[in-house]
């Protein structure tokens, strides 16, 4: 130890060289220096460990992309780019195309956002601005609890409650009044794209609303008072003073929700109908990228079949990245000029 201290701090050596003459010198200084060098060593170890943690993430992403691209090579050679733009999915004749899955994933997720965003923001506004104090905590807690329910349970609930409800009441009503749009027509199976969108919406409401609630709570009281003092009504105060200040954070929550919706597998697989088709009507069954992988992976017999499924996985990965980048660009354009801090 002493050696290392001297080595690390050459300035101390002349003192030590004086030797016996200064033997009475208090040992405080060398000891302090030794300690200093150990802490330097610890610092370096710490730095290295943290670097390793950071690199692990990069490595993981690399391994996933590597696996997806190599295992999908067979499908890419067989179909090329057409794989992503044709909707045949025919294991018997070994013809594969991912378009209907890409379509199913995007449409079900967008439908989910369409339903979930207004609902989630409404929940957040009610909790932060309108609810009586005693109801606030239980309500916030329950919303968060919704996020903790495993997706298979959502799937079961959807099969036993949501699907019959859609089949018997909602779909006939929609078909009667909005059937002319062509988006809601055909036989009301219950199961299908609409059911998938609704169950996804229910699953992402807690994510969006709890983030929206947090950023809205962080808006300083002075902002609310500033709007009120200008003669604003309560709604105007919420729009200008609260939502206006919290919009960057709310967009962040929406993107997180979208990410969850794109990748959600179990609940969607249970209610979407699992038929590789592109139909205009939301009543028709569909299929998503995540569902087809989960459903068919274990029984994919041929090598081309398996490779095509991996390629679908790659497509899901890419769609998720593209959507996130687009959403990020949207956030930047919407919140340009907004300071990073919400408290000013």
């Amino acid at each position: 130890m002493a050696n290392r201290a001297v080595g690390a701090h050459p300035l101390t050596s002349p003192e030590l060289a004086v030797g016996p003459a200064l033997a009475a010198q208090p040992p405080a200084k060398p000891e302090f220096l030794i300690k200093d060098s150990t802490s330097q060593w610890a610092d370096r170890t710490f730095q290295f460990a943290m670097l390793a943690c950071g690199l692990t993430v990069l490595l993981l992403v690399y391994l996933i992309i590597y696996e997806l691209t190599t295992k999908g090579t067979l499908a890419r050679h067989a179909f090329g780019w057409r794989f992503f733009f044709q909707s045949d999915w025919d294991p018997v004749n070994d013809r594969y195309g991912a378009l209907s899955f890409v379509y199913g994933t995007i449409v079900s997720s967008l439908l989910a956002l369409l339903i979930a965003v207004p609902l989630a923001i409404g929940v957040a506004v009610f909790i932060t601005e309108m609810s009586p104090r005693w109801l606030r905590t239980p309500l916030a807690f329950t919303t968060e609890l919704l996020a903790a329910i495993p997706s298979v349970i959502y799937g079961l609930w959807a099969i036993f409650v949501l699907v019959p409800l859609l089949r018997q009441s909602v779909q006939p009503w929609l078909a009667r009044y909005l059937g002319w749009t062509g988006l809601v027509e055909g036989p009301p199976y219950g199961i299908g794209m609409l059911a998938a969108g609704v169950i996804l919406a229910i699953m992402i409401v807690p994510i969006i609303s709890s983030i929206a609630r947090e950023v809205m709570t962080a808006v300083p009281q002075q902002q609310r008072e500033a709007v009120l003092a200008l003669g604003a009504t309560r709604w105007e105060m919420i729009r200008m003073g609260v939502l206006g200040n919290a919009r960057a954070g709310i967009w962040g929550g929406i993107i997180l929700g979208l990410g969850r919706a794109l990748g959600e597998t179990m609940a969607v697989t249970m209610v979407i109908g699992n038929r590789p088709e592109i139909a205009k009507s939301l009543f028709a069954p569909g299929y998503t990228m995540a569902s087809v992988i989960a459903n068919e992976f274990s029984e994919a017999s041929g090598e081309l079949y398996l490779s095509s499924l991996v390629e679908v996985g790659l497509a899901l990965f890419l769609v998720t990245i593209v959507v996130n980048v687009l959403a990020q660009l949207l956030v930047w354009s919407v919140t340009r000029g907004t300071p990073a801090r919400s408290h000013v």
């Binding site: 300083p220 009120l228 003669g231 206006g244 907004t338 300071p339 000013v344």
Partner: protein, 252 residues
Amino acid sequence: MGVDIQVEHLNAWFGKTRAVQDITLKMSANHATAIIGPSGCGKSTFVRCINRMHETVPEARVSGQIRIGDLNVYNGTSATQVRRRIGMVFQKPNPFPTMSIYDNVAAGLKLNGFRDRRQLDEIVERSLTMAALWHEVKDALRKQSGASLSGGQQQRLCIARALAVEPQVLLMDEPCSALDPISTSKIEELIFQLKQRYTIVIVTHNMQQASRVAEYTGFFLLGNLIEFDKTEKIFTNPSDKRTEDYITGRFG
């Protein structure tokens, strides 16, 4: 033009605590009235009763009468109607950070459904000029956010925002306590000019400030109005012993 503010038997509560006790006074049009007193004496609460901001706090309650010109604040009028006639400037500058300087000033007008572009431009310029901020920000009206200004500029922006809706009364709740001396003197100068058009009520901790800007001064202590008189009289020859103790710095 400013109007008189007549307060009669005003009481204000937070839950069971009475923060303002039976206050009656008249603040004259086109003058500045300073409200002084130690922390927690109810001076902010008193001012917040004038534009009904007090009632936005949970469990807050008010009794008594306030008249602003011919408008009865607590009888037959909605809080939003009252607040549209009264501008308020807060202790901490609170511009809207997500809005440009222009939109900050225009915020109150837009709330009132005002959309005429040309007139909006005029009013924004006039308000910023009145708040002595126009020359500093006229090149960055739409580019810069309200929060990008310095503290003193932000406070003048808040004053411009309050003036844009052409109020009759301007309430200022310790408008300079978060500002440096130079910004403070700018705002005091501003108050001097604004008096010609508005009735101003200013809460302040700073007794020199009260004597500089206000013709009348009210001294509050523990929710009571101890003395209300011409500012000179309050600071040179107060009639109440407690006022004298406070202004000579014996407590508070």
